[in-house]
Assembly symmetry: C2
Homo-oligomer: 313 residues x 2
DNA sequence: TAAAACATGACAACTAATGTCATGATAAAA
DNA sequence: TTTTATCATGACATTAGTTGTCATGTTTTA
């Protein structure tokens, strides 16, 4: 085997093992101890942070975290990594922030001038818009870690009613509209609730779990209609346009030949309140035919508004 | 210089130059032509897709796109790349899709078993929520390319009034709520408008631009109030809570001691229409005091709704 | 004080890389 | 058709690099 190949093998072995003696490497790779010393000098020259402790019980210690074998990327692949990083740009708090920066640096440094220009352009011509939040999420990393390691959390949480203690089993963490959410099983209330990570005041303690629980994907997929209600709406052309832009409805809109449309689809009773603002906004562009509850709600809402602004102002 | 080092130099040189003769490499690196032939055999063995054309005007041609010199990542850095990729997961259409996949594969393959597990966990416990869109954006890549290359676009665009031809100068492309938007200067209307990339029917032609134009960041930052209007609203506690979650307003909400609040801030006249749905939704939780135009709009809207649902249904 | 570790040097044996020269094949240009 | 520029490959001597063995030191701990 060529020297280069073996050096890399030793690099991976050493950075995974962290602490070892020259003899161990010699045995592992069937080479002499003298050669191991020479190899380690080479690796050290190549920048691997490794130091030796003298004397009995001494040995080598690698300081960096585990290294992967070197990887060859094409320029396009490098650009795609920067593209992905771009999507994280407008988050105020991010886990892996330090790592992302060091990856970006390593890549950017090894790009040639023209490719650097391309990356710069991706950075200035592509964005993933996120509301720029002024809200801090200091416990994001800890929360995430607990979720990934499948640990239960005892935490202090700030909710409508003030700060209380919660005992939960996290399902995962997700970002939406610039905020981080934590769906979790609440042991007190005995059901899955959604928490906001920025409202976690402190994590008091965590405890291991042996068994696996639901993960995020399963949770996202677990939505089901328990109390079906018929949603029946007539839409103008503009109503169709707007409903098509609402994820919750886009699949249910039936478009007629003249461009107008209809929604006629079962939804869960709990979603009536959720869909009301949309149909309020659409005004005459959407005529709700069913459910009556939605119509009542909208009428009541409209009356309140008229009452508030009716004559006074 | 060691052979390995020189091989990498030649790898980078060759993959950047794409087509070259052995003599060129020999001159560049001050080695004999025979050695170049041997090196190229080595690179070829290492998987570099390179082929030779015989005869006069022949030479070597590298098929792959430009390669970067090999990069050493730590395990944590690799995980952070997967984390970034996770944020792109729920987009239906993405540029660089193929590259992202090949990066993910290259990285995943070189991870050790335990690190693979960590990546799997990041994948199942972290998400960046996006509405899952059923809308296709087939021209995303082309649009992006035109934007990055600073080209004007003649396109067929589907808008309220039907499909029309537009002549625009793109500022950039950004994703929001699962949809891709294209702010661009419209030459016909002589102002910057916002287009949706999925509504572009076809790109008829593009033309080069010599000079630089505004880029996305500048555009995001260029919001200015041209027709200032005083927005003055009184909020209940719940009103405060909800306005705080609206990026457009979160900075302007003043919270009183009892938890209620006030907004009193200049906005642009054009934003009145934009903010109306919000205050409609808030109902009695927000009492708009100014501008009168907003109040009028809300009253009119409420009347329309009452008329529609007033007695008939 | 002995044992276990790193550090380093010397040197012979071995292995690999390199350049030179030669020969051949191929394709385009003269 | 001939010449020229190119790749392809082999042989071989020369040079350069790698490895193992042995020797000698140093440092730390049992």
């Amino acid at each position: 085997m060529s020297k280069a190949k073996r050096l890399l093998d030793i690099l991976v072995f050493a950075s995974a093992k962290k602490k070892f003696t020259a003899q161990e490497i010699a045995d592992e790779f069937h080479i002499s101890v003298r050669t191991v010393h020479r190899y380690i000098l080479d690796l050290s020259d190549m920048g691997l942070p490794i130091y030796a402790e003298q004397g009995r019980n001494g040995g080598y210690t690698v300081l960096s975290s585990k290294l992967l074998p070197p990887i060859l990327f094409t320029e396009e692949e490098a650009v795609s990594i920067f593209f992905a990083f771009q999507s994280l740009r407008y988050y105020r708090d991010l886990p892996f922030d330090a790592e992302i920066n060091s990856v970006a640096q390593k890549l950017y440094r090894s790009l040639q001038v023209d490719a650097k220009g391309k990356v710069d352009k991706v950075r200035s011509y592509i964005a993933f818009w996120n509301p720029t939040r002024t809200i801090d999420t200091p416990l994001l990393k800890d929360t995430l870690e607990a979720a990934i390691e499948n640990k239960n959390i005892h935490m202090l949480y700030e909710s409508k009613g003030g700060t209380t203690t919660k005992h939960i089993r996290p399902i995962g963490v997700y970002a939406h509209d610039g905020l981080w959410y934590l769906p979790a099983f609440d042991y007190t209330k005995q059901k899955v609730l959604l928490y906001r990570v920025d409202r976690i005041v402190s994590i008091v303690s965590t405890e291991e779990n042996k068994d696996e629980y639901m993960n995020l994907e399963q949770w996202f997929g677990s939505y089901e209609i328990t109390q079906p209600v018929r949603l029946h709406v007539q839409l103008t052309q503009e109503g169709v346009r707007q409903c098509k832009s609402v994820p919750f409805l886009e699949g249910t809109v039936i478009i007629h030949e003249d461009g107008s449309g209809t929604i006629d689809s079962p939804i869960d009773k709990g979603e009536i309140a959720f869909s009301m603002p949309l149909f309020l906004r659409l005004g005459t562009h959407a005529r709700v035919i069913e459910p009556q509850e939605l119509i009542e709600g909208m009428r009541k809402h409209a009356e309140e508004i008229l009452q508030m602004y009716g004559h006074a102002n």
